[in-house]
Amino acid sequence: MIRMVAQRLLVGVFVMWGAASLIFLIVRAAPGDPATVLLGPDADRTQIEQLRESLGLDRSLGAQYVSYLGDVSRLDFGQSHRLGRPAMDAVLDRLPATIDLTLTATAVAVIVGLTLGMLAGGRPGGALDRVVSACTIALQSFPTFWIGIMLVLVFALGLGLLPSSGVGTPQHLVLPALTLAFPFIAIIARLTRTSVAETMREGYVQTARSKGLGERQVLLGHALRNSLIPVVTVVGVQVGALVGGAVIVENVFAWPGLGSLVVDAVANRDYAVVQGVTLLIAGIVVVLNLIADLLIAQLDPRIRTGAV
């Protein structure tokens, strides 16, 4: 177990190095001198030269890369000239809002997705199964931003039940979290359905039935645990997609998280913030994937002991 953790950590460090290098590459390949972009078209030559020097842009690309890696490893992404403060501060300010949103969406997606999937998978081919599968296809196909707008149209403007954008009360969280959860409800429901349907054919489920247990006890007490393994895996793997979805959903609902920050930063060529957000998100994805791996090992003794 310890060896596995150490190995995964090593891969994680490598991935973060690669991610940081990739972002460095994109930002440096972008047209336009960062100093000129920051100062605007009216700046004179000496001003630009001064800023270039203070940003380290007068040094060779290799030297810039080395000092960039050093800064990034200390979680220092430089000064955001547009916001007038360190990029990392701006990023950390916005992080809690994104965490609130993604955690709520994950909880909704797991609860609803698992329930739908178990209902459908308990009796494959039944009427309920067909209804659920039709719903999941639709949920997966709707563009998130459009679903968000439609929810605003119906629940905020039409019925006046919920606020259409912003933050403050728990009610503000309902529509964004629901919008973000929709595609993941579909993914989890589909996966749980297949997984439960397969598990129900296993020998130990037959044993449980032959002991005289009711269908509900068989499903919850025996089939559920094994069906959870692929679900945990997919939640781990989908963390990236979830954060990606949050980027779009935050922009629909003016939710003050990382997503609206990064789109704003990209539009204004505020590369310190772009680097901060992308690398923080990459770091979160890497850590959560690691946790998901460990959770799976905990759920499945065959993986824990290395039997598979």
Partner: protein, 293 residues
């Protein structure tokens, strides 16, 4: 005797005619075909200019008459542009970007995946690490950063979406190549002295066709969704290029009162994605059936 002879005939007759179900399963083909037709020939079908603004025709409800006497079946937006024309031209943008991105991703992914799966070794190891790094970013985030950093253009959006699009193609191709390389006919070719490249092209690659076609269909849906997402955020495409995401975004300010501007392009987009998705699932199922035979 006659009874015995008649029995098999009855059995043959008893086979249920499944034409109805078959017909129903053709619906997605029809719908997707229709979208492709509109994307290709749309400008011939419709004589409105999608970017023609007309201040007298602002925010007309669906079905109302414009100042030129024509009917705006899907209404007009805040600048008096026809929503139906935007949907038709938006289909063009989506299909063009979707098809080009899938083509590039497919080419790059299949070549790299096949080489990695068949030859293993260094290429395989490097590819695995590249996957690890690229998968640390949400695909849409990487696309936002790439598309936001450079000069706006259709090509830029294609490149930004291909940056992560090729990964799935490479993974699937690698997986197929890994199993096919152990098959007897590949050994036979090797023993006969056929060079590795020819074995790969003639004896391994043909087996990737089924899964790749199914994957390309599903990937097309994802790319169209991602393109709409980028345009919705106002990133990547030039402002003059009409796209569904942009129209939906424009309609956001007019939700109170003028619901149609955001709603109708979204329905057009969702309907396409649903049908492409069902088509992709059908292709995947067919390929799975083929493999178990």
């Amino acid at each position: 005797m006659a009874d015995i002879a008649a029995a098999p005939e009855q059995l043959v007759k008893a086979a249920p005619p499944r034409t109805r179900r078959r017909l129903l399963s053709r619906v997605p083909h029809l719908v997707v075909g229709l979208y492709l037709l509109v994307a290709l020939a749309g400008p011939l079908l419709i004589d409105y200019d999608p970017v023609h603004t007309s201040l007298t025709d602002r925010l007309l409800a669906p079905g109302s008459e414009t100042s030129t006497g024509a009917t705006a079946w899907f209404g007009t937006d805040g600048l008096g542009r026809d929503v139906l024309a935007q949907i038709v031209y938006g289909a063009r943008t989506s299909v063009l970007i979707g098809a080009s991105t899938v083509a590039i991703s497919c080419l790059v992914g299949v070549v790299l995946g096949a080489v990695a799966g068949y030859f293993r070794g260094g290429v395989d190891a490097v590819l695995a690490r590249v996957f690890d790094i690229l998968l640390a970013f949400p695909a849409i985030l990487l696309a936002i950063v790439i598309a936001g950093a450079f000069e706006r253009s259709v090509l830029l959006v294609v490149v930004a979406l291909s940056a992560t699009g090729w990964i799935t193609f490479a993974r699937v191709t690698r997986g197929v190549a890994l199993t096919i390389r152990e098959r007897p006919w590949v050994d036979a070719a090797r023993v006969l002295g056929v060079p590795g490249r020819s074995i790969l092209v003639r004896h391994v690659l043909p087996f990737t066709a089924g899964p790749i076609v199914a994957l390309a269909t599903l990937e097309f849906a994802l790319v169209v969704l991602a393109e709409a997402g980028l345009s919705f955020l106002g990133i990547g495409l030039p402002a003059s290029t009409v796209s569904w995401g942009q129209t939906i975004s424009n309609g956001k300010e007019y939700l109170e009162g003028q619901w149609w501007i955001s709603t109708l392009p979204g329905i057009a987009l969702s309907f396409l994605i649903i049908n492409v998705g069902i088509l992709g699932d059908q292709l995947t199922a067919r390929h799975r059936r083929g493999r178990t035979d």
